[in-house]
Symmetry: C2
Subunit: 365 residues, 2 copies
């Protein structure tokens, strides 16, 4: 890990925030893209509507001159071109990715970071080669326990300068589902999705899927990169060493019905039969088995599509007889293990993994 | 104009705001996409990095069943399929589009709306047919003075329910540069850019380029649509009838140098020779003839690319000898008419057309 402390940048961004949003939070919301919730209607999210979360500036890498370095505890260090990676056996997986910080802006007090409300999610068809092919080519040493992944994006966080990097245990990294991905929805990766090459780790929150992937290192010890050790952990209090963030939790979202008001996004719905619809996913590859829709606090089961792709969201629908007046709609998913969404956010210091139910206020006329 | 007042929605979104940003503003920043400023490096903005501003939900229109209705003061009403429009003579134009509200979030007090900082801009290659071909086919009546354009996106603004709509004077609408555009960067329009058909009005702020265009009406009187009469006007005080917003003003932006801090986006730059670069545009089709870069308040002229496409931005570069310490960088464009960017925002009630110079704080080590 290359980490140089720098006196120009503080150790914590600023104290926790409540109420209105700081300009820094707004600037992050501008930089990163969110899924407009009506785009839940698409099985596969069109490019430009899938969420993005990039810690630092988007690197501009030249695909022609690109090399992926594979080193560390390996028999042979590699320097793979994109063509060499494309010639390895290819897989295409439909995967729902969600930002670990999705829902942070709904926690209070909230950690000063990207203030997602509900929209840090999307589903794409990712094409690449299982990472294990590259690892086999390099010959991972018997004493290697983790594989670290480093991106070309560099910056500071809490005073620590670093390239964005994450690691996986060797067993996790060897899954046939973990891809070196070079295409999204059938096209070469866009700059904001990691062009020309990224890691894709289905089932995990998005932070594991390192973009602009340029270096892979086999390690005989735990990776000590900032984003592994400090960045992505569930912490209950300041100073809590916390628990690493891994799999995504079960969650569901609704495309708000009716038409919006421009500024408040308050919804106006015509009375009568209204089809409510959205998506539910566990992320972790566990099927969602039940979705309930709440209307003014009364919950009823929605119609749910079966799981077709292990790592992709499932559609749900619910016929609602809308009666004039003010209503609160909500949606809640339960997975095959019985895990369900909490009714209120489960607070943690960094605002991670908030899978509390979404609530939508509507006016029926 | 279909406009029904609705008692559930107030006439003004809320009072002007100062300081931190309201949750409604944040939600708009999530819904709409911004250009990360490092993407100024691209001559043509990649899909997903070009700005978007959509007032209401993104409609999902079926290209196969799509019809463009042309009516009002015409000899023959038309109902054009997408194929019929594609068979008309095609043009491709490279155009820089900027949101009229870009920079609103930098005004104080600010109007409660999309709180753009600098990023509501992008450049694309738009392909379509000049609108005049469709108008000629319909036969615009001698008494027609304006052409109105209605989108499929519907919602409320300040209590008024309407489809998004704008108009142009017949003479403006008849320019060979005004396109019925069906492709962007060589691909069919993405949902968020108006799929399958939009208007493209080069030189004007983005509000004129109506997305999800489904109806065109020739009128013998001024169009009274909300977005024409109320929405997009420069107003100096509440109640001021104001002036319609038309052409984009001269502007320039810099890709901030160095590497960022995650939360503050403060920049760290290594001392020595640093190339500063960015783009400048008048939008209105008037060439930018000079760009100046300010370093700690001292202005010097940058190297500027000539105007190659009448409606597209021009690149500029500036070699800066960076000395350790804190610095403020700024950039200022001047067009062929002598119009230049103000040093401070020129306030108006709705936060429109802010082309004040961008300032970038950097730390050099």
């Amino acid at each position: 890990m290359t980490a140089r402390a720098n006196p120009f940048f503080g150790r914590e961004p600023r104290p926790h925030l409540e109420g209105d949003f700081a300009r820094e939070e707004l600037a992050l919301a501008h930089r990163n893209s969110a899924l407009p919730l009506e785009a839940l209607a698409y099985d596969v999210t069109p490019l430009g509507l899938h969420y993005t979360l990039s810690h630092f500036d988007l690197p501009r890498l030249d695909a022609a001159g690109f090399r992926l370095a594979v080193g560390g505890r390996v028999a042979r260090t590699l320097s793979l071109t994109l063509d060499e990676i494309r010639r390895l056996p290819a897989r295409t997986l439909r995967v729902t990715l969600e930002c670990a910080g999705n829902g942070r802006g709904l926690m209070s007090p909230r950690y000063p970071s990207m203030p997602w409300l509900h929209e840090g999610v999307g589903t794409a068809e990712w094409t690449g080669t299982p990472l294990r092919h590259a690892l086999e080519q390099a010959g991972v040493a018997a004493d290697a326990s983790e594989i670290a992944f480093l991106g070309a994006d560099r910056g500071f966080d809490r005073g620590v300068e670093h390239d964005y990097g994450r690691s996986l245990k060797l067993a996790d990294a060897s899954s046939d589902d973990v891809l070196l991905a070079y295409a999204m929805n059938g096209a070469p990766l866009a700059p904001q999705h990691g062009s020309p090459l990224r890691l894709l780790v289905p089932g995990w929150y998005g932070m594991a899927s390192v973009k602009w992937l340029t270096r892979i290192e086999a390690l005989d010890r735990p990776f000590d990169g900032f984003q592994q050790v400090v960045g992505y952990r569930y912490r209950k209090f300041a100073g809590d060493p916390g628990v690493p963030i891994t799999f995504a939790k079960p969650k569901s979202l609704m495309a708000p019905p009716g038409i919006p008001d421009w500024f408040t996004r308050r919804r106006l719905v015509e009375q009568g039969e209204v089809t409510l619809a959205g998506r539910a996913w566990s992320g972790a590859g566990i099927a969602i088995v039940r979705v309930d829709v709440g209307v003014d606090g009364a919950w009823r089961e929605a119609a749910l599509e079966p799981q077709r792709d292990r790592f992709a969201w499932q559609g749900w629908r619910f016929e609602w007889r809308a009666i004039p007046g003010e209503h609160e709609l909500a949606v809640r998913a339960t997975d095959a293990t019985g895990a369900t969404q909490p009714l209120e956010p489960e607070w943690n210091t960094n605002g991670m993994g908030n899978n509390a139910v979404q609530r939508v206020q509507v006016t029926v006329r």
